[in-house]
């Protein structure tokens, strides 16, 4: 249908979860009063020097190994020179020609269930800048350098994505991975995980890329999708009306839902990169790399494959359950305590539990329902003590601070009726009360079966075992 193909590459900035900054001993905690975490090194005082934080290196290597990339035996820090008040030294220490990680990839799953490999050109270490403050400071700008020197890893993809949805799937995949590795808290509101999107369009089948625009500083999955879609439409409109796309940097305005120009290529800085003479090359030997490899946890794809294999889950369900390490751990704890029906456990974790967490904006590790309690409930479903429908009522009672599953079932008398005699008696009474409907059903109005089910359930307070009820009712209605 579309004559245009979209081409997207992402540059993801993930803040590394080190305790101190990348080149100074200052703390990296979020939310301290302005400049409370800025040392003389962070302030760029005359005479001070940077010293590399080894933990940041280990974290970058972890990432590199997880994306099956090449870890550089020697990588080099360079200075990126430009003037800005939130950049105290007048240069940012980054990596340019020789990054620590190169040539990796990740696999995403497309909407049709097909896997797709997304290439990762490189990942490099760098320091973050501070930020300017304007609120409550009439006529002047304030500078907060708490964030200056916070370690970042910038993960640069190949231009391998062909839609906003693919870009979001890739970004989510990276987000999941860095949290699995424990190298980034993934907090997008606080800016710990954000991206720039390079977007261009070209005629379907063209072999050259179109001119791209770079959309800066996108800090939510929703904004990434919307900004890219807006940008694609904007570029197609320009091209279809005979215009040319300008290579430039753009900003996304989430309130207006549009991107707008920040600066063109001509206005772009010449950063005058050169190797930072204050820092030695980062030389990593095989022993170091192997020692880091030994600390890698089970990665999301490995975990999903194992869950699918061991518990008979669909690839989709396994993918959802492994989106975070905590969720997968929770699920596995449930299955260990209620091993009879792992598929049922998956449905409940992804269904009722996820909805309840979502409603209150809670993460899985803050769940008010422990895995053991949920397993207790699932056990009662599996052994047919309660029906699935009543189980939802039990879940809600448990969620709002009630007793455990057995306690709630007993308190409320929700135990399922599995005694055939009792169910038959209820059916007989309903049939006796509704002779007209019985005649119509027997004359071929099958839909009335549901009516009878409803009446019997009503009569038993919803506790009749549905499978038994169906079987007995069918027999009775057909005169058996």
């Amino acid at each position: 249908m579309s004559a245009w193909e979209t081409v997207i590459g992402l540059e993801i900035h993930a803040q590394l979860a080190t305790r101190s900054k990348i080149f100074s001993g200052s703390a990296t905690a979020y939310g301290a009063p302005p400049n409370a975490q800025a040392s003389l090194v962070d302030l760029g005082y005359p005479g001070v020097l940077p010293v590399l934080n080894g933990e940041a290196v280990r974290m970058a290597v972890k990432l590199g190994l997880a994306i099956e990339a090449r870890i550089a035996p020697s990588s080099v820090f360079a200075r990126k020179n430009y003037f800005y008040p939130d950049l105290p030294k007048g240069y940012q220490i980054s990596q340019y020609e020789l990054p620590i990680v190169a040539n990796g990839s990740l696999q995403i799953v497309l909407e049709d269930g097909q896997p797709k490999r997304i290439g990762i050109t490189r990942a490099h270490l760098e320091e973050d800048a501070g930020k300017s403050l304007h609120e409550g400071l009439p006529g002047v700008s304030g500078i907060d350098l708490n964030r200056a020197g916070t370690p970042l890893v910038e993960i640069v993809s190949e231009p391998d994505m062909r839609s906003a949805k693919e870009a979001v799937a890739y970004m989510k995949k990276v987000h999941t991975l860095v949290r699995y590795l424990g190298i980034c808290d993934g907090n997008m509101q606080e800016g710990s995980f954000r991206c720039d999107a390079n977007v261009s369009v070209r005629r379907a089948g063209a072999d050259k890329f179109g001119t791209r625009a770079e959309i800066k500083n996108l800090n939510s999955f929703r904004f990434v999708e919307r900004a890219i879609n807006y940008e694609v439409e904007r570029q197609i409109e320009i091209l279809e009306s005979g215009g040319k796309v300008v290579q430039e940097t753009r900003l996304y305005d989430p309130d207006k839902g549009e991107t707008r120009s920040m600066r063109s290529k001509e206005e772009a800085n010449d950063y005058r990169y050169f190797p930072d003479p204050d820092l030695l090359p980062v030389v990593l030997d095989a022993a170091f790399i192997e020692a880091v490899r030994a600390t890698l946890p089970e990665l999301p794809d490995q975990k999903a494959a194992r869950l699918a294999r061991d518990y008979g889950l669909s690839a989709y369900d396994a993918g959802v359950l492994t989106v975070s390490r905590e969720l997968a751990d929770y699920y596995e704890a449930v299955v260990r305590a209620a091993p009879k029906d792992p598929k049922l456990a998956a449905n409940w974790v992804m269904g009722e539990l996820a909805a309840a967490l979502n409603k209150e904006g809670l993460e899985i590790d803050a769940s008010r329902m422990t895995a053991a309690r949920l397993a207790g409930l699932l056990t009662r479903i599996s052994d047919q003590t309660i029906s699935g429908k009543l189980a939802k009522e039990v879940f809600e009672a448990m969620w709002s601070g009630g007793a455990d599953a057995d306690g709630v079932i007993a308190e409320r008398g929700l135990r399922q009726i599995t005694d055939s005699g009792a169910i038959e008696r209820a059916i007989d009474e309903v049939i006796a009360k509704n002779p007209g409907q019985l005649a119509e059903y027997r004359a071929g109005k099958d839909k009335l079966f549901g009516f009878f089910v409803g009446q019997v359930m009503k009569a038993t307070g919803g506790k009749a075992n549905p499978a038994q009820l169906n079987e007995l009712l069918r027999r009775k209605l057909s005169g058996g």
Binding site: G44, G47, V48, V51, K89, G90, D270, R272, F274, D278
Partner: protein, 487 residues
């Protein structure tokens, strides 16, 4: 007591320990000399009299109880680009004429830890950029041998102060010759250690891959003592080297018999003043008489060192000096209209002409499209020069030759022609590019002006360089000469 200032660092330290005089007496005497000389020489930017006397009194107490370090109570001065806590640290610039450092440089802290007493901060070329001390915002330093002449630079204040015996020793820094060239022009002993031997933390950076802190003293023995207390690995400087510091003092008396001395063909070129050359040749005969063997060697790439230096050093300087933006410290222009105005006027007003020239040169050579042709090529040639030195040191133990082409020149003589000024560093830059230790010692006089002899050794061979200098000084007395008026 009038002869205290002739004693030198080592003798003063010993005299203090023997309680022959007190640290307060010493500080008082030297402070008096500093203050009396200031109008003629302008060697100091800041004199810390009150603090010095208080520190000296405390040092005397330590000495009385037999405690204290190797330099306990000995007065010294710091070049004004070493950060000194609570004391103005200007780098000879209007940009930092209001900058009181909140911390001590590692070198300052180490010397303080060894018991040295700081008497003040010495004048220098602005941000260490210059070879004559004429680029200082605080006015030129004058050469104590003839106040119409320059003392050399950039450590001109430290060199003039030691030459006039205003202090027995001073810290200095050397990026392209800034210790050795003023040592030569002022007739004293200057030592630039191996790159990485002395911490750069707290030393305001000019060109980070070349800068190295060192000493200016009367003799090589004094340099050995001072360096021993300054040197060593610093976890706050990633380029400092984790390697044991030898006892340079104990290693001074190495015999010169059998020492293989390399004469660099490239050092005895047409640029070398014939009178200077005669002094150098005479000094080489002294070495021969002490049993050294002279061997001619060649470093074919060495003549490229000046152009290489004037690409690499400005490139690093353009980036290092970006932090002086009027935002957090230092000079800020009045009433900036906006951010661009704040940057342009603060930097335009704060920096002098030579600093601006180097920032612009450096910005140019790092620019897109020029980087490969200038910066990258210069770095490649730098490696060739290093390799030349490595090859030479397979044949010889040290290289000996001139420090400068001529003795001190007149104030104002070269200020209008930067290239001529830059050529003053032609013999000294090589050691910086290769990161080698090098000393300059006095070896004679031409027209009443001192001439410097340069000794260069392989990496971390400070003890060999110092013992070669010390052996010469035991056989000669050039290093004991003091300018008339400062005797």
């Amino acid at each position: 007591m009038s002869e205290l200032h002739h004693m030198g660092l080592t003798a003063l330290a010993a005299g203090l320990r023997a309680r022959r005089f007190s640290s307060v007496e010493l500080a008082t005497a030297f402070l008096g000399r500093i203050e009396a000389s200031q109008g003629a020489l302008n060697a100091f930017i800041t004199v810390t009299r009150a603090q010095a006397l208080a520190d000296a009194a405390a040092a005397d107490q330590a000495l009385a109880s037999g405690a204290g370090g190797a330099l306990q109570g000995v007065p010294i001065a710091h070049k004004d680009l070493f950060c000194t806590r609570g004391v103005l640290t200007t780098c000879g610039s209007h940009m930092l004429d209001n900058f009181v450092s909140p911390y001590d440089a590692t070198v300052v802290a180490k010397l303080k830890g060894a018991g040295a007493i700081m008497l003040g901060k010495t004048n220098m070329d602005e941000f260490a950029m210059g070879s004559s001390n004429e680029t200082s915002y605080f006015g030129p330093v004058r050469n104590p041998w003839d106040v119409r002449l320059v003392p050399g630079g950039s450590s001109g204040g430290s060199a003039a102060a030691v030459a006039a015996r205003l202090v027995p020793g001073a810290t200095a820094t050397d990026t392209g010759g800034s210790i050795r060239q003023p040592a030569a022009l002022c007739g004293i002993t200057g030592l630039k250690p191996t790159y990485g031997r002395v911490s750069r933390y707290g030393m305001v950076a000019f060109a980070s891959s070349l800068d190295q802190g060192g000493t200016l003293t009367a003799s090589a023995a004094d340099a050995a003592l001072m360096l021993r207390e300054m040197a060593g690995f610093d976890p706050r400087d990633s380029t400092s080297v984790e390697r044991e510091v030898p006892d340079y003092v104990a290693l001074l008396e190495q015999p010169l018999a059998g020492l293989k001395v390399g004469l660099l063909k490239e050092f005895f070129d047409k640029g070398l003043d014939p009178a200077n050359e005669r002094c150098i040749r005479e000094a080489l005969r002294v070495y021969e008489s002490l049993g050294a063997r002279l061997i001619e060697v060649s470093l074919p790439n060495l003549p490229l060192s000046v152009p290489v230096y004037y690409v690499v050093a400005p490139a690093e300087c353009s980036s290092n000096l970006a932090r002086f933006d009027g935002v957090r410290f230092g000079h800020r222009c009045e009433q900036p209209r906006d951010l661009q105005d704040l940057y342009r006027r603060s930097r335009g007003e704060g920096f002098g002409a030579e600093v601006k020239r180097r920032i612009m040169t450096g910005t140019y050579v790092l620019s897109a499209g020029y980087y490969d042709a200038y910066y990258l090529k210069a770095q490649r040639v730098r490696q060739l020069i290093s390799a030349d030195f490595t090859r030479a040191f397979q044949q010889v133990d040290v290289l000996i030759g001139p420090t400068t082409p001529t003795p001190a020149f007149a104030i104002g003589a070269k200020t209008s022609d930067p290239i001529t000024m830059y050529l003053n560093d032609i013999y000294t830059i090589g050691a910086n590019l290769a990161g080698l230790p090098a000393a300059s010692i006095p070896c004679g006089f031409v027209g009443g002006l001192p001439v410097g002899l340069q000794i260069v050794g392989p990496h971390f061979s400070e003890s060999r360089v110092l013992s070669a200098a010390h052996g010469f000084q035991r056989a000669t007395d050039w290093h004991t000469r003091v300018p008339a008026g400062y005797a």
